[in-house]
Subunit: 338 residues, 2 copies
């Protein structure tokens, strides 16, 4: 009967490399991996160590990748995912990428190394062709990011439509020069929202200046900084579509401190309908996503694939968003409570 | 056949260092790394990764148990823990207990089943004697909760002192009948804060009515509900020590809506110095904990124990809190910005 040493000799590779391939570990080139697999086939070598058998078992763990857990949209999403996973007896590993493509690939290795049964991606830093490779190792569900070419279940709201409606709302409330704040240009969410934003400007024949798009808007602090940047450099801007309620809250906080009237001098729309959007003075007009339903659906789709197998097939689950008008855009300041 | 001990002896280095090199872990100098590799070559030592992993049974995963991830204190804590763990090549499993003793025990089973190398508890729902039993299976670090009898590393601020100072501050600003809001009576944080609260009332000779302690204060929504409960049933209460900034924010939001002046008619102190405490009108007096430092310390202590072994020994790490006075208690409404 062939041994691991025989495989190594046949493949012309070290025992360590063979062992790595057998144990599905990273850092083996595809070329070496296939030489080892060919050698195993040729020699009829069947790895049957207890270690491998143990590892081939299900881990009953799924990983959720997200940019940052301190963002309320993501932590509410995670909470609903974790509760649903827990109903099914699955644990959730939460992995923060902090927008790093390298970290995203490192965490995707969890799937290759069989440390998790499946992965939910709520944000994407690499091109899809990079991520696609990991689908050989286990199922992936996309949440929030809608990558058109992805052959997996995709759960999202129509970000382009939401951005379009938010922008139209700003225009209808009197804004004529509108800033579009976003977290980073690499995200699909950004690309879709930008499309909707531009469509609204185009339809209403408002000019779009390059300077009206601002990146790095991720939290309260960046919202505060962007108020001053915009006020100092683009004083004619009188409407802001912020990427999140936290950014909007930071922006409005500084506006109020500086004596700039919201919405009379500048109107602001947030995103996600977090508690902060209701608590601020003025309260913040925002776009609500059904976070809990989306999180639960993602987990159900993923666990279904883990337990019943999966094929590379696109399957879209589009959830309905809702524009919640509040005082930060409505000039009569009619307060709408939740 | 050479063993890892032989390699360590030959290289004149510790077994831990050799193990780190074999496992490709960080924090080994290039010089030591090459001494280990030379020794391995000289002795013909080939690490068998699967056997090794089985023997050592390390998963390079730690679990963090917390009540709910949507609480900003806990998600900021987790963020710092996750970043520190990631530096060391460890993954973090986040487990929400939702204050359930049963769920807490279920997640503690991860340690018994060797699915994680160690656990950080940021909240405790079971009596310590229950949790103690799991220490046979692996190390536990306590964070936030200070259980006096726990023979493990404990990382926390002095909650009794923080509550005492917050209560004295309310009294000095004119409050004479003070409500104490908390998340649940089973937590050690509650017991310590209550002790500090009562000490302040006693020293300043204020009466303490049983009715002045309110439980189930966990988020913005419960803060809103508690405002009405207190206003309707205990109209003479003119000071509130809330367990979190979110509870304080919900309380203040409803007070302002109802035309009750904060701090003139009722003054409010939050906890944690989250962004919301600065953003609210009026801004919220709060107690700041050094969340990032605490989170990092917990992970360092736990990984040290995972990699170097541990004994049942109490080790206290007390971090300094800080009272941040803002408009919700200071009658002149001097706004202190961050």
């Amino acid at each position: 009967m062939a041994t691991i040493e025989d495989v190594a000799r046949f493949a012309g590779l070290s025992r360590t490399t063979v062992s790595r391939v057998i144990n599905d570990q990273p850092y083996v080139s595809e070329e070496k991996r296939s030489r080892v697999e060919d050698a195993m086939k040729a020699l009829g070598y069947v790895p049957n160590s207890s270690a491998r058998r143990l590892r081939s078992q299900k881990t009953e763990t799924i990983a959720v990748l997200l940019p940052r857990i301190t963002n309320p949209f993501f932590n509410h999403l995670i909470e609903s995912m974790e509760m649903k996973a827990s109903e099914w007896g699955y644990q959730v590993i939460i992995c923060q990428t902090h927008d790093s493509p390298q970290k995203e690939r490192d965490y995707l290795e969890l799937l290759r190394k069989k440390q998790v049964d499946g992965i939910i991606l709520t944000s994407i830093q690499n091109e899809w062709e990079v991520i696609e490779g990991y689908l050989q190792s286990g199922p992936i569900v996309l949440c929030n990011e809608n990558v058109e070419e992805a052959q997996v279940p995709v759960v999202h709201v129509d970000q382009a439509k939401a951005a379009y409606e938010a922008t139209v709302h700003l225009i209808e409330q009197g804004a004529s020069e509108i800033a579009f704040l976003h977290g980073g240009e690499d995200s699909y969410v950004f690309r879709h929202r930008e499309r909707g934003f531009l469509k609204a400007l185009h339809e209403r024949r408002l000019p779009r200046l390059e300077a009206e798009v601002f990146s790095s808007a991720v939290d309260v602090e960046s919202g505060r900084a962007l108020f001053h940047q915009i006020r100092n450099n683009y004083p004619s801007i009188n409407g802001v579509f912020a990427g999140s309620d936290e950014v909007a809250a930071g922006f409005i906080y500084e506006a109020v401190q500086a004596g700039v009237k919201v919405p009379e001098e500048i109107s602001v729309v947030g995103f996600d309908n977090q508690a902060i959007s209701m608590l601020m003075k003025p309260s913040i007009t925002t776009v609500e996503q059904p976070v809990q339903d989306m999180g639960e659906r993602c987990v159900e789709l993923l666990i279904h694939q883990v337990e019943n197998g999966y094929s590379l097939k696109r399957e879209e689950h589009v959830f309905k968003h809702r524009l919640q008008a509040r005082a930060s855009t409505t000039r009569q300041s009619k307060l709408v409570t939740l």
